[in-house]
């Protein structure tokens, strides 16, 4: 193995992260983030939480506000599918494929802006809307929530990255895949209804998604569940996230090889 490879990967990761930060500043100003994006996401949390009032089950509101507040970072992290496709429309994809490094290193970090923005959005939702719907925070539970939200955003980002790799050749599908992915998670991972509401095969599918485990851990924190149980779920979430990251690295490799062979990597939207 070439000893220069790790340092090369690190250089790519560093430059890719710089692009992510620059993208964050290009996509939002503090005004558009605060009064546009954040208002939209907080409205979504309230919208779904209030549905609990229709079913005469007021206690559902805490279940719903936790799930929907955490869902916010999962939605943003899934935007990696769309932003990975931007390289194609910008015309930089062929250059990345031609570069003497693994294609995946760039994509792993170039959309981290969604993790940053998603984590902050989710935390704002948990700490501002949560108390309005009956959540009570302590210093310890708040600290645990910060960590769990970050892990959720990162884990879901890895899942989104794998999807981005799968649709690398089909950039027109980016929005469909991204939307279906986050709505699928919203349905299956216990955000709106408990995971056991769904048939057995779908329950099994939910176990492969980081959000399912991190959400269970967060609910455990707020309900005073044993620390070991919370840790166990959080670790399961991390393991599934790492699994999706491995899938993404492999599939990006396939996409690059296939693109070189067929000449299919070009400008496109």
């Amino acid at each position: 193995m070439n000893p220069r490879l790790p340092s090369k990967a690190l250089t790519v990761l560093r430059h890719g992260s710089a692009i992510a930060v620059a993208d964050l500043a290009a996509v939002y100003t503090w005004k558009t983030w605060l009064f546009g994006w954040l208002v939209r996401m907080l409205s979504q949390v309230v919208f779904f939480t209030l549905v609990g009032r229709l079913t005469d089950a007021g206690h559902n509101e805490q279940f719903l506000v936790i799930g929907n507040a955490l869902m916010v970072c999962a939605i943003e992290a899934t935007m990696v599918v769309a932003s990975s496709a931007w390289e194609r429309s910008l015309g930089t994809m062929p250059l990345l494929v031609a570069a003497p490094t693994h294609l995946a290193w760039t994509f792993i970090v170039r959309s981290l802006q969604w993790v940053i923005s998603g984590t902050v959005s989710s935390l704002v939702a948990l700490f501002t809307l949560g108390p309005a719907f009956g959540l009570r925070w302590t210093l310890n539970s708040a600290a645990a929530a910060v960590l769990l939200v970050l892990l959720t955003a990162l884990g879901t980002y890895c899942f989104g990255l794998a999807l981005a790799a799968l649709v690398a050749d089909q950039p027109a599908l980016r929005n469909i895949v991204s939307n279906v992915a986050y709505l699928g998670m919203m349905a299956l991972c216990g955000v709106q209804v408990p995971v056991h509401y769904w048939p057995q095969p779908l329950q099994l599918l939910a176990q492969f998604l980081p959000l399912t485990h991190e959400l269970e851990a967060l609910r455990g924190v707020l309900q005073g569940a044993p620390v070991l149980r919370i840790l166990g779920r959080a670790v399961l979430g991390v393991i599934t996230g790492v699994g999706w990251l491995a899938v993404a690295v492999v599939v990006f490799g396939w996409a690059a090889r296939r693109g070189r062979r067929t000449g299919a990597i070009e400008f496109g939207t």
């Binding site: 100003t29 208002v39 979504q44 919208f47 009032r53």
Partner: protein, 254 residues
């Protein structure tokens, strides 16, 4: 009328060739499934219409906001706005035709939501079919007029574009498309009533209730007025925008 038809067929062809523009329709079954599960619609039949109608209205609004709302600006960006304006055909007719094609495509959402409901074991009874048909037609009309206004506003106010993505859930929440606006604080009600979705949701839901839809005339008047207001504002703004960009020479400025 030829310009209207040309706009209609052009947009239909564009939608057919770019399935990405119809991505909203891919979200409808999932939103329906989520809302049906949340409201336990298979056991609480009274809530099923809310869960079926809401994703339909969400799809209509989202398509109006993004696909129809982006029409003029995208043409401008692609460089096709200048030749379109230069032709003898009135731009308003072409744009109206295109917006109608987008709105018509959005109506697929209703069938999608209905089918998901059936698969979920929800069999909706339409107690007032005429109300349902009139409700769908007036909602489509008002959506098209509102989309025309959005499209014009987005060209006029470049600064408004970053907020485009933010006009979804705040509007769904305020218009009570799932949770009736009575659940919201009183001071919100006047704002809710300015949003046409609130009237549409009430009207469409009333078609599924056994009681007579007594509010129907008022709902139709409200939707008609909001549609007329949207169209009038869009026409005035469109004329001003075109006059301005012609004088400034920035019609093709992307």
């Amino acid at each position: 009328m030829r310009a209207f038809r040309a706009g209609l067929s052009l947009q239909a062809a564009l939608l057919w060739r770019s399935p990405g523009n119809l991505h909203v329709l891919a979200t409808v079954p999932l939103y329906t499934l989520i809302l049906l599960a949340m409201t336990d619609a298979s056991h609480q039949a009274g809530l099923a219409p809310n869960a079926i109608i809401a994703p339909t209205l969400m799809a209509l609004w989202t398509m109006a906001l993004f696909t129809a709302g982006d029409l003029i600006d995208r043409d401008r960006h692609d460089g096709t706005l200048e030749p379109t304006v230069a032709t003898p055909a009135p731009l308003a007719q072409v744009i109206t035709g295109r917006i109608c094609a987008v709105t018509a495509a959005s109506l697929i959402a209703f069938a999608e939501a209905w089918v998901v409901g059936l698969c979920f074991g929800v069999h909706l009874s339409v107690h007032h079919p005429l109300t349902l048909v009139v409700g769908i037609l007036t909602t489509s009309l008002t959506t098209a007029c509102t989309a025309a206004l959005i499209a014009t506003l987005l060209v006029l106010t470049r600064g408004g574009r970053p907020y485009q993505n933010s006009l979804s859930f705040p509007f769904y929440l305020l218009s009570g498309i799932v949770v009736p606006i009575e659940v919201l604080p009183h001071w919100v009600h006047p704002i809710s009533r300015i949003i046409y979705l609130s009237w549409s949701a009430d009207l469409l839901r009333s078609a599924f209730r056994p009681e007579e839809p007594r509010q129907l005339p008022m709902q139709l008047i409200a939707l008609g007025l909001l549609a007329a207001a949207g169209l009038a504002c869009a026409s005035v703004l469109m004329r001003r925008v075109l006059d301005r960009v012609r004088i400034l020479g920035t019609l093709g400025h992307a």
